[in-house]
Subunit: 311 residues, 2 copies
């Protein structure tokens, strides 16, 4: 049985045909165009699935941002595709295509992707952190994904790593996301910018908003503002991982998502900080690695949702 | 089938006969006398089990401090009964009594106790925090206890709630335990004591070490040092619970252990702090309560280990 993996995002919808070995044979991307409203977006999702499936018998796995009601196949709340909030996506796909579909939060799908196709293939206890605009996470323990009490829980990016840290979009303070994401790094740039008005960060960002590439490029040049921001990134991530190791005792922490690919900049220091914040008997029990799935991570994660639910 | 629950501690060993409804019919306590060495302690444990079982067919459940190898029934490391470290306790009990025995960390046993006999009887997602000399914890999610990667993991008391907090005995900084335990409160008394040499905390402690009762009694009198220490206790616990809710999305947080019985002093403020640090969509999804099992918690927890493993 092949799977159509659907990676739902605020900008693009990607879909691909994936076999049980993780081979991708057909792939298409379409714009989400969130402003066109619920029906148009749904039609594009269904159209994409049909284009990829080409009438083959398939299952459909979907990774979506936000809170998910996995039992009923509904996106509860995704702040970048609000038109889909409350839509019975899984039922709709079944009715329009005949295919069984399975919905999961994208960070948790990424964790399943590592389990089925990535570095966690033979590992029963691991945690995936997706580092991008925000921080997502999925904990897989003793052979199953933790989905939390109400089925849509588990906001690992909002664990508090330093209560004196910046205010988070969620209203709390010092969440992991306020340190180790693009959003977090922007907060720290703002905090320090008056002291470093001539920072390369601003030069490299041009007229647009500060992005991760500008910060990392400036860091490589020894830029002081970029160095401060990267230190905060590393510190928050290291403490967050330290706490997660103490709580879950995983064998592996896998970092994925866009920013993870800049690991040459941060991985060694993150390992060091995590080590310093880990319970002594656990400090040599885990490793922190970068996902090998790279840009395929989201699609393979989405496909894994269908595999995991029907295994 | 009845169970002998054994609550192993650095000072006392308690055992009781427990039925499947949590009724306790026989109970005995003996001193641990840790200095008398491995063989003597083991003999006392076995003697106590026999005295309680009186040749009835029973199973034995044991709650022990420290790190546990539950598969092999060995206490890996308990810093207050080092004489038992590495001892094959379960095998030894089986050989001496014929009874099947099951070993668990005492905080995780407390979580199982809530599940079998306490406030979590019908709840699949909850977390127990045991507040005493240190902070222990057990997370029960989607119907099973999280035991972590190597089977002896999960040190919830050592999640970091504030990295600028006091140095912990584990070597890290600002662990939950450095705020919300007797050990933690003593650290904060030390930090503030020079400013408040006349605090009632010292008067109420007499010549002994500062204890929780002295702090809580002084707090009730409006003592300034005690107030600062209780605030730190509440703040750390609230942040810790906030993070745990964000990670696990439990329906219930149950506080147990000796200090939990002073809940009139701290519960409302802890709820407030937790609420402020919880992801908005989760902030009304859980409650924080005090264990109803009180002084029976440890024994019923120990008995539950046998029930859970053979269910």
């Amino acid at each position: 049985m092949k799977i159509v993996g659907v990676d739902l995002g605020g900008t693009n919808i990607k879909a691909a045909l994936v076999d049980e070995n993780g081979e991708i044979t057909r792939q298409k991307t379409t714009k989400t165009l969130v402003n066109e409203g619920t029906e148009m977006i749904c039609n594009r999702i269904i159209g994409l699935i049909k284009e990829i499936a080409l009438d083959e018998p398939v299952k459909v796995g979907i990774g979506s941002p936000g809170s998910i009601d996995r039992e009923n196949g509904v996106i509860m709340y995704a702040n970048n595709i609000t038109a889909l909030n409350g839509v019975e996506l899984v039922r709709m796909i079944k009715e329009s295509t005949g295919y069984d579909a399975y919905l999961e939060n994208d960070a948790k799908a990424a964790a399943l992707g590592e389990r089925w196709f990535g570095s966690a293939r033979n590992i029963d206890n691991f945690i995936v952190l997706t580092l991008g605009t925000g921080v997502g996470g999925g904990a897989y323990t003793e052979g199953h994904l933790i989905v939390g009490g109400h089925g849509y829980g588990g906001e690992i990016g909002h664990m508090i790593v330093d209560p004196s840290g910046p205010v988070c979009s969620c209203g709390s303070k010092g969440c992991l996301e306020t340190f180790s994401s693009v959003t977090g790094m922007r907060k720290w740039v703002k905090i320090f910018q008056e002291r470093y008005p001539d920072s390369l960060v601003f030069k490299y960002s041009g007229n647009g908003p500060v992005d991760a590439k500008a910060i990392f490029d400036a860091f490589k040049e020894g830029d002081r503002l970029a160095t401060l921001v990267v230190r905060k990134f590393n510190w928050g991530l290291g403490i967050g991982i330290g706490s997660l190791v103490n709580i879950f005792n995983p064998d592996l922490i896998i970092l994925s998502g866009g920013i993870s690919r800049a690991s040459d900049i941060f991985l060694e220091e993150v390992k060091q900080v995590a080590h310093e914040h880990t319970y002594p008997s656990l400090s040599h029990s885990y490793d922190i690695i970068i996902s090998e799935l790279k840009e395929k991570g989201a699609i393979l994660g989405a496909a894994s949702v269908a595999l995991e639910r029907t295994k």
